[in-house]
Structures are given as C-alpha cells and as structure tokens.
C-alpha cells in the first residue's frame, strides 16, 4: 500500500568523481608543502642531492632552449610563451626543493642549427629533459620524487603542444 522508499537512482553512488581527486590532492599538499616526514622530511642522501642538482641543470637547459628557440623563430616564441613561462616556474620550484644546490651541468647555451626546424629542435630538447626528470624521479623519495615526476609529466604535455 504505502510506497516503498524511493530507490536511489539506479547505479549512482553518492561518491563523485571529484571527491577522490580532492582527497589525494589534500594528501599531497601535506607532503609537498610542509615537508612532512613521510620520506621527504629527511634530508636527501648525497646521491639524491647530486641527482637533484643535475636535474636543476636539465631544467635550466629547458628554459635556455625556449629562449634560444624564441630568438631563432619569434613567431614560435610567441606561440609557446605560456609553456616557456611554465618551464621557468618548474625551474623555480625545483630550486626551492634543492636549497643550496647549484647545477653541476652548465645550461645549454647552443641554439638550433641555422636552417633547422626550430620547433622540432625545441621539442627534442624538452622531450629529452622529460626523460631525464622521469628517470631521476625513480631515484628520489617523497616530495622530491613527486615534484620530479610532475615536472617530467608537465614537459611531456609541452612536447604534445609542439608536435
């Protein structure tokens, strides 16, 4: 007689797709911003510090490559100005994660060879840097691994834009 309680819409849970996102982001926030002792609170080992310093050099190379590409092809420079700025943001955050570290490798000062496809040259540089960061990520722990992996992924996205 009295109707049964209205069933929930078939198949839909209360959970939203975004709930999980907010949850994990919150966890990372804790680790990445406060340097909790879940792995990155400990000082890096000398090997980890060396590797991080190397990646600073790699990222300096990315920033330099954007500048060289923009000098060689101003229209390309305009098109990828946002990505160039993001590369600089990445460098700043890597520096903040490696206080006191100075890059051991000199930033690449060379530009694209004359007559070369500047966009392809830039794309190759960024792809190589992404490979290097990704590889270094596996040798780090905690927040430093998270940062290197994230920066590597960001550069992979930039390669897509330059394809």
């Amino acid at each position: 007689m009295s109707p049964a309680p209205a069933p929930r819409p078939p198949g839909f849970s209360r959970r939203t797709l975004l709930a999980g996102v907010a949850g994990v982001s919150g966890m990372v926030l804790l680790a990445a911003c406060t340097g909790d002792d879940g792995g990155d609170g400990a000082a890096p080992t000398p090997e980890e510090a060396d590797r991080l310093a190397e990646q600073l050099g790699v990222q300096e190379g990315v920033v330099a490559a954007y500048a060289a590409a923009a000098a060689a092809d101003p229209a390309l420079g305009d098109r990828v100005a946002v990505q160039s700025g993001q590369a600089t943001e990445q460098l700043d955050r890597l520096r903040a994660a490696a206080p006191g570290a100075t890059s051991s490798a000199p930033a690449q000062a060379d530009g694209p060879p004359p007559g070369d496809d500047v966009q392809a040259w830039l794309r190759d540089r960024i792809g190589a840097a992404a490979d290097a960061h990704e590889s270094a990520c596996a040798d780090q722990v905690g927040g430093r691994a998270a940062l290197l992996g994230s920066v590597a992924a960001g550069l992979r996205g930039q390669v897509t834009v330059l394809a």
Binding site: G11, F12, S13, R14, R15, T16, L17, L18, G20, V21, G23, V24, S25, G26, M27, V28, L29, A31, A32, C33, G38, G39, D40, A42, T45, V82, Q83, Q86, A87, E89, Q90, R93, A96, A130, E134, C137, A138, D139, Q140, V141, G142, G143, A145, A146, L147, L148, G149, S150, V151, A152, A153, G154, R156, G157, Q158, V159, T160, V161
Partner: protein, 156 residues
C-alpha cells in the same frame, strides 16, 4: 620486499594505500570514459576509446599488483556521480580532462609515498601519459592554457 633505493625510510603500508588510491581513480576513469564516449560524435570517439583502454590496462595491472601483495583492494563503484552535466562534445572533453587530472593527482600521491623504485617508475610513466591525454582534451574543451607545469601537484 626490497626497498631498492636503499633509503629504508619508506612505509610499505603508505605505498599500498596510495596504490589503492590510484586504483580507485582508474576505476573512476574507466567508468567516466564511457560517459565521454557516449557524448562524442562517432567519428570523434576513437580518442576516448584509446584512453579508456589505457586506463583499463593500468587498472588491471594495479589490481593484480595489490592482489600479489595480499591487499584487499576495493571494487569499482557501480557508477559515479558526474561533476557536471555532460551534454555536448565540449562537456565530454572537459570531463575527460577532469578524469585525467584525477588520476594524475593519485599518481603524484603515490610518488610521494612509494618505497619501491619500480613503483615510482610506473607512476612517473603513467603520470606523463595522463598529462599528454589531458593536454589534448583541454584543447578539445577550449581550455587555456592546455599545458600545466605541475600535473597532479597542488599549488605551492
């Protein structure tokens, strides 16, 4: 369980929890891509199908990994509530970008807690793949910029 980076400071339980977090995000992505594909015209569905397959592969790999470790990973929900209505191809692309951001955040959380270098390698590789897909979807959704400097990481 070898801690192959030799740091010895990790917590395997935290790694397993984070692996479970990625599995949840991958379950949601597999489900969500069904919605994405349904809102796209047939000639634009291939990208969604490829992405769904990629997420299904990773999901199955993670489930097997957790199973090997004797961790009881939660099953997928039957369905998930959408973060916004998906009524057009642009909505579909925006949802796909959101799904990729969700898995990216889970992979970064795993990188933060991983003890095993192989797990970090997997996480870094899949994080990159998720961001590459996200760039394409942001572009299709008309979002700018299409790239992001720190996929999966919260603002500093």
């Amino acid at each position: 369980m070898a801690d192959d980076d030799g740091s010895g400071q990790g917590d395997p339980a935290a790694e397993e929890l984070a692996l479970g977090g990625v599995l949840e995000a991958e379950h949601a992505a597999v489900w969500g891509y069904g919605v994405v594909g349904a809102a796209l015209p047939p000639d634009a569905r291939l990208q969604a199908v490829l992405a769904e397959n990629a997420h299904r592969d990773v999901r199955d790999r993670l489930a097997a990994l957790l199973d090997e470790r004797g961790v009881d990973a939660g099953p997928a929900e039957a369905a998930y509530a959408l973060p916004f209505p998906v009524l057009s191809p642009v909505d579909a692309a925006a949802l796909a970008a959101t799904l990729e951001s969700g898995v990216s955040a889970a992979w970064v959380a795993l990188l933060d807690d991983a003890v095993d270098g192989e797990i970090r390698r997997l996480a870094a590789r899949e994080l990159g793949a998720a961001e590459v897909r996200a760039v394409d979807w942001r572009s299709a959704a008309g979002q700018t910029p299409t790239t992001t400097p720190f996929p999966g990481l919260p603002p500093a």
